[in-house]
């Protein structure tokens, strides 16, 4: 039985103890490093962020999509890590909201959810309640100057819905602890994109459950780290139902003294016949002191699968590509920036429509300019 049901979040968290560093999730960024104070027994009185829902096209009316206070029926998946999810829930207190999307909701332009953390420790539990046969794109932008931000998303994407869902970690500094605990409905087609270029430290634990037949999921990452940033993303995809499809494609560009970590876990349960799953991590190392670790793992309990694979590739900026761009008049810095942007763009472009991509690409160019200056 899920202990979340029978115990409040704070009690549950306190009952768990410090997570084991041998655990895949905690191997590279121990819980102590992402806890707000490092005193693991302490749960902060976090404030609620300011939420604003809008549409990139101002002429599109937000009918059928809304933010509501409180959470109904969007429990954290039992597959999720109890430490992170219970801690954020405990810290969030009343900062709980639901993004409710009515059945058959369709938007012609991306919806934007701005989450302004303010400048104090901040926490939010947001439930995604996406109805059946919806079709839309959602950009969730987390920004602000909070020294610590906890952001938990739980919920379910309704049957037959098509959703491009991009989360941008754009906080000025501090620590971002992010948890996704999301179920993919029958025949739903979902792209979940992560764009991370802010915060000094990020620990993300992103878990998706393919528990119903025909679900289709693409998880994409464009991660840019610099200075002394430490950005750790753990992605788990659970194929529990037959005929489910998932791909993880994660690109991290790592500069300065920074470190990126990408750990992946693909679990294909017995009975998930016809599952098709793959994960690929690419790391671009931009300096000698930068470090990137990628550890994809597989647990496949079903024999009758289409395919399950994983891979990882690390390397510096390609010298031949540099020479090609320089031969076309790009100076050394312009060529390098163009190659970094191209590397990150390879996954960015897969996150959604041309409109969404254009918006994201502009966002990334701004970040590159900030890092170069």
């Amino acid at each position: 039985m899920n202990r979340v049901k029978i115990m409040d979040a704070a009690s549950l968290y306190k009952s768990l103890g410090e997570p084991d560093r041998a655990d895949h999730l905690w191997r590279y960024t121990p819980w102590k490093r992402v806890h707000p104070s490092g005193d693991l027994g302490e749960i902060p009185n976090a404030v609620a962020p300011k939420l604003t829902l809008s549409c990139l096209d101002e002429d599109v009316a937000l009918l059928g999509i809304s933010i509501e206070e409180g959470i109904v029926g969007a429990e954290v998946l039992p597959e999720s890590d109890e430490v992170t999810s219970s801690f954020i829930r405990a810290a969030a207190g009343d900062s709980v909201y639901t993004l409710r999307v009515e059945n058959n909701f369709v938007a012609s332009a991306p919806i934007v959810l701005d989450i302004d953390t303010g400048d104090s420790p901040c926490a939010l539990h947001l439930a995604l309640d996406v109805g059946r046969h919806c079709e839309f794109e959602l950009i969730t932008q987390v920004s602000g100057a909070a020294p610590w931000t906890g952001f938990l998303r739980s919920g379910r994407i309704g049957d037959g819905s098509i959703l491009n869902d991009v989360v941008i970690g754009h906080t000025d500094s501090g620590t971002l602890l992010r948890v996704d605990s999301i179920a993919i409905g029958r025949d739903a087609q979902v792209r979940v994109g992560t764009v991370s270029s802010g915060s000094d430290r990020t620990k993300a634990d992103l878990r998706y459950k393919m528990g119903e037949t025909g679900g289709h999921l693409n998880v994409l990452g464009s991660i840019l780290s610099a200075d002394k940033m430490h950005l750790d993303h753990h992605v788990e995809i659970h194929h529990d139902a037959p005929e489910t499809f998932s791909r993880l494609d994660w690109h991290s560009a790592c500069g300065g003294n920074s470190r990126t970590v990408g750990t992946g876990m693909l679990r294909v349960a017995k009975g998930a016949r016809g599952a098709d799953a793959g994960q690929l991590f690419h790391n671009l190392l931009l300096s000698e002191k930068a470090e990137a670790d990628s550890i994809p793992e597989l647990e496949v309990s079903e024999h009758d699968v289409v395919g399950c694979g994983h891979g990882t590739a690390n390397g510096p900026v390609d010298e031949d590509q540099m020479f090609y761009l320089e031969s076309r008049g790009f100076d050394t810095e312009e060529a390098r920036d163009a190659l970094i942007a191209a590397f990150l763009n390879s996954t960015l472009v897969e996150m959604g429509s041309d409109t969404l991509h254009h918006w994201l690409a502009e966002h990334l160019q701004d970040e590159l300019a900030d890092l170069s200056s």
Binding site: D318, E319, D320, Q321, F323, Y324, L325, E326, S327, R328, G329, F330, D331, T332, E334, A335, A338, L339, A341, A342, F343, L344, N345, S346, V349
Partner: protein, 256 residues
Amino acid sequence: MASDTPVLGIRDLHAGIDDTPILRGIDLEIPAGEIHAIMGRNGSGKTTTANIIMGHPDFEVSEGSVELNGEDLLDMEPWERARAGVFLSFQYPQAVPGLQVGNFLRKSVAAIRGEDAAKGTEFRKRLKEAMEELDIDRSFLGRYVNDGFSGGEKKRFEILQLMLLRPKLAILDETDSGLDIDGIRTVSKGINAAVRGTDSGALIITHYSRILEHVQPDKVHVLIKGRIVKSGGPELALELEERGYDWLEEEAETTA
């Protein structure tokens, strides 16, 4: 600058890679408006010559000079050479996944010909015309640079850049390989348009005389073991087609 200063002036060029000599004293001059061809077997130093003019960091020049309109190129970075007016059409152009062709062309034209040349209706008109001349579809602009391009598409794309960048010196390294006869005719038209009647020059590197039927070179040079062993008019290319390189190798050995 004196009017008889060649577009490209190479004198006694010795160069190599990792202490292995490849070029052993090359002299070459290309006057304005002329197209020259270098022919030779694999490993004779043709691509090395192209890379050294463009400034590839892997190669080291031990002796000699390379000048563009009298200006020393060897002290310049590759991008400075490009901005000075050197263009290299690569034998194997690099793919850059994630970098869109349209953005790449705009940035490249802005870097080499100035910001004003890369914007406005004039740029778009020139781009459209050049793409039509080379039979390149508009959808090309949304693709990634050389990513998934066929051999022929890569070569056409190199010539598209040549036409937009309008260099003083165009070096075409085996641009004819990977092209069918129609493709050779099309890119030859682009090369002629970029050089003939202008104050630019071109150096075509090739194994075959096929492209030289469409781009009549003013001079043909034969490179063997890092030296130009013979120069002549366009008829030399035909002679090489008939007789191969053995006779020249023998000549080179007896005079070495």
